[in-house]
Symmetry: C2
Subunit: 447 residues, 2 copies
């Protein structure tokens, strides 16, 4: 590769010849001098060119070249990608990093059309039509560097603890969670395949396979017609599943440590930039996170004056915001585990506590929104079949899943967490659309 220098390396270099590649963010075309702000993936730098507006008929080649360069810069469109070969000069007066580059020559890689179809403040739907331009914004670029750090810290946490990374299939012969909101497709003529709504079945399979501890960060699909700020038809699901637990509390303990580790990494690597571009401080949560049984959460929310309209006993979105506000006020904490859910509002495979009749499961809320469901799974085949039947499920369609429990399996549990929700709440964004590389919803399948 050429001797390309990144913008964030310039301050450390001595004055002299340098080549930088990036795209044109702004052009200030003054009469006597031209300024170009060139941005690359690490920052922006000012390029400068003393303008040559006209030359005489007996002009030298050099003068003609200077005129051509000036005219090229005057005609330059925003977004054009180019490499500048020039001379670096440190100058305290330059606000942008205290350096500038005097342009020698410009190699244009690809010129942009003159009319940029969106601006930073265009309507979200318009920005999604032109997501590749929208992502050039510093804020948006930072979102995906934060995502990278967050995921790598989580995977490193797991790998250091001997978890096995699995890739479960997304094409299935039967639904993984429920028959509702399921995408289906024709599979080689006479078969029907379903897109996995979660890796639930197959991460549990790893426990029957004796893998012990597994994780997966991968796509999941829901044919969900919702248009809320926190639903998508395709999303990245962060999943873990572990054997030989005593209860869901072992899962919760792993997840809270995982999150504290990941948020510490984000704060260390991007804390200052998040402060600058999002105006907020990354908070690393203390351990353990608060735990509140669902029934108690109800009472707290009601005491705050909010009547939950749902009749099934679960919290609604406003209820989630209320209980999180309470936790923040009372414990100064951004996270809370809500526990002791009634089996009626949980899937058949959640294990139940015979003493309380409640499931051994939790939801994890973060800054007002649910990001996770975790649980110990029922691994005793007779109980599992009973609970499935009680929910009105046909055991026939579940045969492959039920087989996992017939040849021995460890007590186990795990959680699933939406990457986009976590990022959205971490960065104080209003919608998962803002933190998804290319959002997919009921009316959004392109670009």
């Amino acid at each position: 590769m050429s001797e390309r220098v990144l913008v964030n390396q310039l301050q450390g270099l001595a004055d002299g010849p340098v080549s930088v590649s990036g795209w044109v963010e702004t052009v200030r075309d003054q009469k006597k001098v031209q300024f170009v702000i060139l941005r690359d993936e690490t920052g922006a730098v000012q390029l400068v060119n003393p303008a040559t507006r006209e030359v005489g008929e007996d002009a030298t080649d050099e003068e003609r070249a200077a005129l051509a360069l000036t005219e090229m810069i005057s005609a330059m469109t925003h977004g054009t990608f180019l490499t500048v070969h020039g001379v670096l000069k440190h100058d305290e007066r330059v606000k942008l990093g205290g350096v500038e580059i005097k342009i020698g020559t410009l190699d244009v890689a690809a010129e942009a059309l003159p009319e940029t179809p969106i601006a930073a403040d265009s309507h979200m739907d318009k920005r999604m039509d032109w997501r590749f331009i929208d992502l050039r914004q510093r804020r948006n670029n930072l979102i995906f560097r934060v995502q990278t750090t967050l995921e790598h810290a989580m995977r490193t946490y797991w790998v250091e603890r001997d978890y096995i990374e699995i890739h479960t299939p997304k094409l299935m012969s039967s639904p993984s969670e429920s028959r509702a909101e399921l995408f289906q497709l024709e599979y080689f003529g006479d078969q029907t395949a379903y897109l996995a709504q979660s890796p639930q079945h197959f991460k549990q399979m790893a426990q029957a396979a004796g893998f012990g501890k597994v994780f997966e960060i991968a796509d999941a699909f829901r044919a969900d017609p919702s248009f809320t700020s926190r639903h998508a038809t395709e999303f990245t699901s962060i999943d873990a599943e572990i054997s030989w637990i005593d209860s869901h509390e072992d899962v919760a303990a792993m997840q809270e440590e995982l999150l504290a580790t990941a948020l510490t990494a984000v704060k260390e690597k991007h804390g200052d930039e998040i402060e600058e571009l999002f105006g907020l401080t990354v908070e690393v949560p203390t351990l353990p996170f608060p735990r509140i049984p669902l029934a108690e959460a109800h009472e707290i929310v009601e005491a705050r004056g909010y009547e939950i309209p749902r009749t099934d006993g679960d919290l609604d979105p406003e209820g989630e915001r209320q209980i999180c506000a309470h936790v923040k006020e009372t414990y100064g904490h951004d996270f809370v585990f809500i526990t002791d859910y009634h089996p009626g509002i949980r899937p058949f495979y959640h294990m139940r506590n015979p003493e309380t009749g409640m499931t051994k499961s939790y939801d994890l809320l973060y800054r007002g929104t649910e990001i996770t469901t975790g649980a110990q799974r029922e691994h005793r085949i007779d109980v599992l079949e009973e609970q499935a039947t009680e929910k009105g499920l046909e055991l026939e369609g579940l045969e492959h899943y039920l087989d996992f429990f017939r040849y021995g399996v460890a007590p186990h549990g795990g959680f699933g967490m939406g990457l986009a929700r976590l990022l959205m709440l971490l960065l104080g964004e209003s919608s998962i659309r803002e933190v998804t590389y290319l959002f997919r919803g009921p009316t959004r399948l392109a670009p």
Copy 2:
């Protein structure tokens, strides 16, 4: 979680009380003494129990309990998951790690049905029906620990070099590669969605977005009716794409360094165990990998006495084996980049070298099989449209993709690599089915 001890920690512990959890691999039920081999995710340990075959009518509670334990062990089925509480004793005569556990009590978590439906040497298709049992084999477990190390080493290589991790959508409004071998589904009534065959479009989009360097390890889908040992309808694709390259050589240089780094990590962490269970030594490749232009590869293969039946100029599987054999004999190398492919056998978006008329692309072969195609992409919109038209493609269906090149973009390139092929060749396996958690093919959609 309970005070569970892993099998691989036992040798380091002093004699005394201990609890271990795992599944029953074998029971040796001798008249005077019973042995159980218990396996967990880290190894196997021998449990021992002096048999109590009968007790008198005036037996103590303790004697009755001893009888019950003996009978329980006699009736124990293979694959039963249990926790043993007992007493650890170091004993040099015990072949399995020099330790054994005298059984105190056994807590059965889940009993296995008595008839295990497969054995280690069952036919592959049968083993795939019962994959969760098949995966209990040490060899199979090791495959996925190798996979974990391989992927983590690759991601760490990229993260340390400031690559951004992206998650591209797998639901698309138009095909990503070609209209052939495409899964399609009905999307909210009147729309048609396609499953991504590769992240090609969207990793290129990241270059127009100014991300600079990106990677993704994710699912890709091909409605490929092949039944070969190296094709699947769903597979894990390892992808990277980088900006500001001079040619495909910059991509190749990154990929060879990446692979050498990843294989070094595998050798360090699992080299001994791979030697033991697969009977082969992990070879870390030297840099640079050999490069051979396709035309020269043809001559070499022909000189070895093999006539390639394909007429399009590409290598066929036997040709790939032959050229790899030549490279191994000549350079002692397991990898080879084949370069200078004619545009006729490459996709329209590969950049061409105006001097030679060939594409700026390569295939990477490893131990006889192609694992990667890499290339510099054509980023000049006029040339790109021309090349698409020349291939008979309708520009209309490509509009979203072509837009990425109209508002400025850096010269860029990248590669896609099949995770399962890499693992198969690394471990000397005969089929990607053996190294895929749950294989998907034309007649394989379950479990």
